[in-house]
């Protein structure tokens, strides 16, 4: 017989034992169960991890969205302060006097960009009452990006239309202002006035219009016959860009 035939005959006769097949199937069944169990454990951990990530990022995102990083104090007589988050959206609008409360009563500024909020505020019917008296409007910005925000305010339609002034201030001045129950802008004006008049108090200024405070500063300034520049309390002064210069 040829070798080829013998090889074929011999190998044809070799069969896997049934026990070998059964043991192999049993082994594979156990391996499958083990892997599916560990896989389901992995899925369980993955799901728990995903939930944790969602909670952490959700909490983180929420805190980023609601954390105040800048303030814009808007003062005529109504004293209002807008707290802004990192994205320059309003997270809180606070009134610092009765007139401020009246103005904010019918306005929902939360979540709006500060330029949109300022336009809404200055365009509101309640605010219109205060513009009739030839009042001035002071914007005081407390922010790491002061110049950028001031430019944004100066681009608002209401700022150009009314008698607007922009100032910068630091966080310490804002903290002091809030401690005295005043908006940052009004407290800044009070500090300026107190340079001339030691008897004036923060409480006195609370219900005075910004025009009244600045008129008094001007009177004192003229009375002293001095041309010295006003102090800026932890701040920069920014005249508006529409020819509205600060009057002394």
């Amino acid at each position: 017989m040829m070798i080829l035939n013998k090889i074929q005959e011999i190998f044809d006769g070799i069969k896997a034992e049934d026990s070998l097949k059964q043991n192999t199937k049993y082994f594979l069944q156990k391996e499958r169960a083990k892997r599916e169990k560990s896989l389901s454990r992995v899925y369980k951990y993955a799901a728990a991890f995903a939930v944790l990530i969602i909670i952490v990022s959700g909490a983180g995102g929420y805190s980023v969205l609601n954390k105040t990083v800048s303030y814009i104090s808007i003062d005529i007589n109504p004293s209002v302060e807008l707290a802004l988050n990192r994205f320059d959206n309003v997270v809180k609008a606070s009134a610092y006097n009765d007139d401020g409360n009246k103005v904010l009563k019918n306005l929902d500024l939360k979540g709006k960009s500060y330029t949109e909020a300022i336009d809404d505020l200055l365009g509101s019917q309640e605010m219109a009452l205060y513009f009739k008296e030839n009042n001035r409007i002071d914007f005081t910005v407390v922010s790491d990006r002061q110049n950028e925000i001031i430019e944004g305010i100066q681009s608002c339609g209401g700022y150009a239309q009314h008698n607007g002034y922009c100032h910068g201030a630091d966080g310490d001045l804002a903290a002091q202002a809030h401690k005295h129950g005043l908006s940052t802008g009004k407290y800044r004006a009070y500090m300026e006035l107190s340079e001339y008049d030691e008897n004036v108090t923060a409480e006195d200024c609370k219900n005075m219009t910004m025009k009244q405070i600045h008129d008094m500063i001007e009177e004192h300034s003229e009375y002293r016959g001095t041309q010295r520049a006003h102090h800026d309390y932890g701040m920069n002064r920014h005249n508006n860009g529409e020819g509205h210069h600060r009057r002394r």
Partner: protein, 160 residues
Amino acid sequence: MKSECEVNCAVDRYADTVRRICLLHLKNYSDTEDIFQSVFLKYMLYNGAFRDEEHEKAWIIRVTINACKDFLKSFYHKNVVFLEDTYDIETEAYTIESDVFNEVASLPKKYKDVIYLHYYEGYTASEISEMIGKKENTVYTLLSRARLLLKEKLGGDDFE
């Protein structure tokens, strides 16, 4: 991971093929069991698709040959002495009473694979070269040398 049904079918379909390759390379039954488990576990976990049954069979053969080679090279195999080996206990279900089989099985590893693949499974040199990762010319050379060795040992019977 392949379904239980797919895996069981593959065990039934290819168990004989795997058994033949194991018999050529391994001496005892427990090693054969290990190779069976290793080969079909790989099959169960294999995520690739097979073109057809021939492709699937070639995959099984390649994996089995590699598993046998890996096992024979392993530290475990080289350093553990089995009781069966020591006391010459016959654990194989098969006692092959054939000079031809014994001579094929006693050929160097590189020859017995090509002899089995070509003369039993009917693969061409080109197909074998893909399966064992060697050049086609090398496969021809291996086949030619293997034939010569068998002729010498088995007394000049012809292959053709």
